[in-house]
Symmetry: D2
Subunit: 270 residues, 4 copies
C-alpha cells in the first residue's frame, strides 16, 4: 500500500513545547453553561450538586496526571497547575490541554448520576473549552490563582444578593439588576444584612472561596498476611504513606495557605 507516499503530511505538524521552568496552567470553562444550567434546573445562585461534580471531575484529572500540583475551581471553570519541571507529554501544550479537557468531560458525564441522582438526568453531553498559560515565577502563579479566587468572590457576592432579591425580596430579575447597578461590595453586604438578615461572611467557604485541590500524604495502616521465618503465617499491621487529592475551601490570596503547604511550589531560582 502506498503508505509512504502520503506520510510527508506528518511534517506539517508544528512543535508547541511549553517553555521549560515555567508553571503550566490549563484552564477549562464550561461552554454554553448558561443554557445548560437552565435546562438541568440548577439551583440559584449555586448548585451544590454541580459544584461537587466539578470537583469530582477535577480529582479524576489529577489522579490521571500526577504532575498537577494544585487545581482551583469555581462556578463552571477549573484550573490545573502542572509543576515547573514537569515533562508530561514532553510539555507539548496541545497534548496537555486536550488530555485535561477530555478526562474532565468524560468524568463529568460518568459521575453525573452520583451527584444528581435519578431526579435530574443528563439531557445531552456538555462540553468545556480549554487554554494553556505559562507562568515563570511563583509570584505570577499565586497571582493567577488569586485572580481566579477574587473573581469567585466578586461573582458569588453579586449572585447571592441578586438571587436573594429575586427569591426572597420578590423583585424581577430586571429590577434586581437595576437595584445592584453601581453598588460596591459593602453595599451588597449591607443589603443582605439589613434587609434579609444574612451575614455574607457566614456563608459557606465552598461558595465564597471556591475549591482548591492539592495532594496530601497520609499514613495508612493496613493489615497484611506475612510468612514468618519459621514458615508460620501471621497478620501484621503495616504503615505506609499514600498521596491523596484533598479539597480545601480556604483563602489562597494571602500567604498563610502557601506557608502551610510549602511543598506545592518549587523554588524560584532553579
Amino acid at each position: 500500500m502506498a503508505k509512504s507516499k502520503f506520510e510527508y503530511v506528518r511534517n506539517f505538524e508544528t512543535d508547541d513545547t511549553c517553555l521549560r521552568n515555567c508553571y503550566i496552567v490549563v484552564r477549562l470553562d464550561g461552554r454554553n453553561f448558561h443554557k445548560f444550567t437552565e435546562q438541568h434546573k440548577f439551583t440559584k445562585p449555586n448548585d451544590i450538586r454541580a459544584l461537587g461534580l466539578m470537583s469530582r471531575s477535577a480529582r479524576s484529572v489529577m489522579e490521571e496526571l500526577e504532575d498537577i500540583v494544585i487545581a482551583y475551581g469555581q462556578s463552571d471553570e477549573f484550573s490545573f497547575v502542572f509543576k515547573r519541571t514537569s515533562t508530561w507529554f514532553k510539555r507539548r501544550a496541545s497534548k496537555l490541554m486536550t488530555h485535561v479537557a477530555s478526562q474532565f468531560s468524560s468524568s463529568y458525564v460518568f459521575y453525573w448520576k452520583e451527584f444528581f441522582g435519578e431526579d435530574q438526568p443528563l439531557l445531552y453531553p456538555p462540553s468545556f473549552d480549554g487554554r494553556v498559560v505559562l507562568y515563570p515565577s511563583n509570584r505570577n502563579l499565586k497571582d493567577y490563582l488569586s485572580w481566579r479566587q477574587a473573581d469567585c468572590h466578586v461573582n458569588n457576592l453579586y449572585n447571592t444578593v441578586f438571587w436573594t432579591l429575586v427569591q426572597r425580596g420578590g423583585l424581577t430579575t430586571v429590577q434586581a439588576e437595576e437595584r445592584l447597578k453601581g453598588t460596591l461590595a459593602a453595599d451588597k453586604n449591607e443589603i443582605l444584612f439589613s434587609e434579609f438578615n444574612i451575614n455574607y461572611n457566614a456563608e459557606s467557604p465552598l461558595l465564597k472561596k471556591g475549591t482548591t485541590l492539592i495532594w496530601e500524604k497520609r499514613d495508612e495502616t493496613v493489615t497484611k498476611r506475612m510468612k514468618l521465618p519459621n514458615e508460620e503465617e501471621r497478620e501484621v499491621a503495616v504503615t505506609r504513606s499514600r498521596r491523596r487529592v484533598q479539597a480545601h475551601h480556604c483563602d489562597v490570596i494571602g500567604e498563610q495557605f502557601w506557608e502551610e503547604h510549602r511543598d506545592i511550589l518549587e523554588d524560584d531560582n532553579c
Copy 2:
C-alpha cells in the same frame, strides 16, 4: 476586592491563531486504549459496537461545530477538518482542539449504553488526546486523509490475519506474530484465502475503509398546519432542505469520492 491588582496575569496568555486560508485538522487518539479495550472486553480484531460509538461521538462533534466539513475515523482515532475560511473561536488552536476533545469525550460516555447495552458497563471515564495540524492546499488535505485511510488498511489487514490465526488457527499470539513477520499484503491475503477460505476484499467496508462523515443536504417534506386567507386552517406539505451528517465507508484516496462531493473542499486559489 483587589481584583485589578492580579489581572495583569491575563497578559501571559499567548496568541495561537491558526494561519488563515489553511484547513485546520484536529485529530483525537484514544489514551491507553489497549488497556481500555481489554477491560471492556472489546471483540478482536474489531468491535463493531465500539466503532459505532466512535462515529456517534464524532457526529455529535460535527453537529456542535458546523464548520467541520469532513471527519474521518478508524480504530480509536478520529480526525476533524475545519473549512479553510472558518472563523470559529477566531481560529484559536487551543479552543478548537479542546472543544473537539471535550465534546467527543463527553459524548463517548453519554452514548456508551446505546452501543454496549447493559451487558458491558463503562468501568471508568476514558480519555482522548488531540492535536492541531494545518494544511495549505487541497492536495495536502487529501493526502492527510489518504495517509489515515492507508494506515487503516494496513492495520486492519494485519489484525484480521493475526486474530484469525489465533482464533481459528489455534496459534498463540506470539506464534501469530512470528508467522506474520516480514509478510507483505499479498502474503497476508493468501494466508486468509488458502488457509481459512476468507476473501479479504469481501470484508466489511467499515473495517477496511474506516468511517468518513460529511454533511449532506436532503429535501424533507413535512406537514404544517397553516392558516389560509379565508381564516380556514389546512394541513400543507412543505419541502425544505436540511443538512445532515452522513456516514460513508468508501475509498477517499482516489479522486472519485472528491469528484462526487465537490462541495466539501474550497478552491485552492482563494
Copy 3:
C-alpha cells in the same frame, strides 16, 4: 570545564519552523528613516540614489539566499519571497528573517558610497526591522505584493503633489498638508496637471511602481581555452545559461506580469 552542567539551557530554545507548502515572506522596514533621510539630505519626494542603494542591497540578499524567487521594494521597505518548497535553514523563521535583515543592512553600508559618492558620507549605521508572514496560496501571495504596490502608488502620488506644492507652489508644509486633506487620487492628478503642468502618468515607473527583482536566465557566450585530442590548445566559444537578478518597474497587480513570468510561482495544488 563544567560545560555539560550548563548545557541544559539549550532546551529552552523553541522551534519556529514555518508551515510547509506556504510562501515565506520576509519584509524589512527602515527604522527611524524619517530622521535618517533628513540627516543624510535625501531629495524629496524621492531620492533616486537611495532607491538604487535599496535595490542593490536587496540584490545582495537574493544572491546569498537563492530560494528567494521574487522581491519587491518601495520607499524604505523591501519584501523577500521564499519559494513554497524552500528548506533553507530548515524553514526556521528566526534564521530566515535575521539572515535577510543582516545581509541587507551590511550591504546597505557597504554599497553606500557607490550610490552617494563622496558628497554625502554615511553618518551612522542605519537599521531595519523585519517580520515573517506566510501565504498558503498564489492568490494570497499576489495579493500581498499588490497590497505593497498599491501602497507605493498611494504614497508616491501624495508625496509628489505635496512636495510640488511646497517646492514649486511656495506653500509651507502645513499649508500643503491642509490643501490635500480629503482629496482623492483624481484631485491630486488634477492639481499636478492644471497648476504645474505635470502629467503624473508620465512619471518614472521606478517611482510609481517600485522595484520588483526576479531571477532571469541568460545565455552567455564565454571563450574557454581547451585542449584538443591532438594535444593542441585552442580557444572555444562556450554558451552557458546563467541566472541573474533582474529589476523591473512594472505593474504586478494585474495578471500580465505573472503570465509573462510563469516560473516564479509554483502550482497551488502541490
Copy 4:
C-alpha cells in the same frame, strides 16, 4: 486605488510576543565566518582587531536598544539580554531579533576601517544570523551566560594549542589535529607549558573569558553657563550621572561578578 481589497493579507501575520517576566536573549552568530576570516586574513588563533570590532558593534546595539542589560561575546558570536520587564517592540520576538541583527551588521561594516585600517579592506558585506531564547529565572540566565563562557574557554584553549603546534611546532594542521585528539584540558595546558613555555593562565582575559558589556553609571562634571538671580551670568560646575556601556573580561560563571553588579538582574519573585 483598490487598496482595501488587498489589505486582508495583513491578517496572515501571526503574533510572536515573548512570554512576560522572562529574560529575552538574542544571540547572533557569524555566517560562513570560516571563509570570511580566511579571506580577510584574520590572525590565528585570535584576531584582536576582529574581537574589537565585534565589541564595538555590540556596543552600538546596546546604545540603540536601552533595555539590553548585559551582552556577552566571544569569537564570532554575541548574545544580548533584554531585561525581564522590557516592553520594547511590545516584546515581539521578530522585531527584537531582526533589529539586533540589523544594527549589529550595519555597525560591523561601518566601523570596519576603525579596526582594520587601510591594510585590510572589507571585501564583501558579511552576515550574521540570530535567534531568540527565553529564560524564566536568574539561575537559567546565569547558566546560559556560563554556557557561552565555558564554550569560549574550551574553544580558546584548543585553538591556542592547535595554532602553537602549527606556527611554532612546525606541525601541519592535520598533524596538530591528530596530536590533540582525546586530550583533556590538563594535557593541553601541559603541552603549552612544557613544549612552548607558555602559561595558559597568563594569557589575555579577553581571549580566555570573552567580552561582557554592561551599563555603568558615572558621575560627570560639566561646566554650564547659568544666569544668576541678579541677571549676572556665571560658569557653574554641574555633576550629572551618565550611563555608559563598559566592557569586562572577567569570569561570569562564579557568583562574584553578580554580587558586584547586583543591579543587572531583577528579583526572581516578581
